[in-house]
């Protein structure tokens, strides 16, 4: 017997992502899925952002890593709520992991939820986490052709932060080339050059967060 199925393989994840999206919409929480290769500076960006915007927003973080709660501890040290998900080898977060992690967070009155995905430029882009926007980090210590080599993530991201710009004098990274690839993949992408170490360039990122948060609240 042949049974026509025609069902989206990722439908279970998409359904959970839909639930998450509704939960966040009902509470007016801006939810962001932060992605990059390992070491690009996701946790450093969060540490800065959580400290600098603490007077304005109530924020929480879901941290995804294969092992250890190192990042959740770093983030919690800023005073923000943080919960760690260990994927035990899994290369990305999925909707059910986020729903599970949310049980450990007090989301009432929350303004912004950051989801720090597992460091990986490929798989995380495939899985909807019910986020309002995907945010990708690329550091200048990586190749400026990363967007061309790992296109899907940049194609789907609303924002890309080029991190570690304080190291530009010491590396062969062409900012215009990297940004050009990003725009070729996604003409609407917003690109910020930042240094999470020195704080350079973070204000436009904070303004973007404020604007998106205000739009979400309405």
């Amino acid at each position: 017997m042949k049974v026509s199925v025609i069902r989206n393989v990722l439908e279970a994840n998409d359904r959970l992502a839909g639930e998450l999206r509704e939960m966040m919409a009902a509470r007016g929480i801006l939810s962001l899925n932060l992605m990059s290769s390992p070491g690009a500076g996701k946790t450093s960006l969060l540490e800065r952002t959580l400290r600098d915007l603490a007077p304005e927003f109530k924020m929480a973080v879901i941290e995804g890593d294969l092992q250890t709660d190192n990042d959740a501890r770093r983030v919690a040290a800023t005073g923000a709520q943080a919960v760690q998900i260990n994927t035990e080898g899994g290369c990305h977060l999925n909707g059910s992991m986020i729903l599970e992690a949310l049980k450990q967070l007090d989301i009432e009155g929350l303004d912004i939820l950051f989801i720090e995905n597992v460091g990986n430029l490929v798989c995380p882009a495939e899985f909807d986490l019910g986020e309002d926007a995907k945010v990708t980090l690329l550091s200048v210590t990586e190749g400026d052709d990363k967007p061309e080599k790992y296109p899907l993530m940049f194609n789907l991201s609303s924002v890309s932060l080029l991190n570690k710009v304080d190291l530009l004098p010491y590396v062969d990274f062409d900012m215009e080339r990297a940004e050009g690839f990003m725009r070729a993949l996604n003409k609407d992408i917003t690109v910020f050059g930042v240094s999470c170490r020195t704080g350079e360039g973070l204000d436009p990122w904070y303004d973007w967060l404020r604007a998106r948060r205000a739009a979400k609240k309405r």
Binding site: K2, V3, R7, V9, C91, V122, C123, F127, E148
Partner: protein, 117 residues
């Protein structure tokens, strides 16, 4: 390797469909995947084999079919299917524009049908 999660999702759906139709022996499952989904067919095949090994589904044929990428040019609106590439950055075959094309197909990932008794 996200193919393992995908294989697990396929298996979940197959089992639901078999149960719904009162079927117990899976003969074949056909999955279609878009060229732009970052799906490596060999990895997906291995994932499905690993998950069904030593289960009643072990002997089933796992069939994959690729759906090519098709674009509409951002500049001249021509529709085109680039040959032999799964890159997102592709020049329009009509006007050469590389930027900002709309993806018309190539992002699909679905189970087409199952054959079972």
């Amino acid at each position: 390797m996200h193919e393992m999660s995908i294989a697990q999702s396929i298996l979940d759906i197959v089992q639901q469909e078999m149960e719904k139709n009162g079927l117990t022996r899976l003969i074949r499952v056909k999955v279609k995947f878009g060229r732009l989904t970052n799906t490596v067919p060999e990895a997906l095949d291995t994932g499905f084999m690993a998950l069904t090994a030593q289960t009643p589904l072990e002997s089933a044929v796992f069939e994959l079919e690729e759906i090519p990428a098709r674009y509409r040019c951002f500049k001249c609106a021509a529709e085109f299917t680039p040959e032999g590439t799964n890159r997102l950055l592709v020049p329009c075959t009509a006007c050469g524009e590389e930027f900002g094309h709309a993806v018309l197909s190539g992002k699909e990932l679905y189970i087409d049908f199952i054959e079972a008794e």
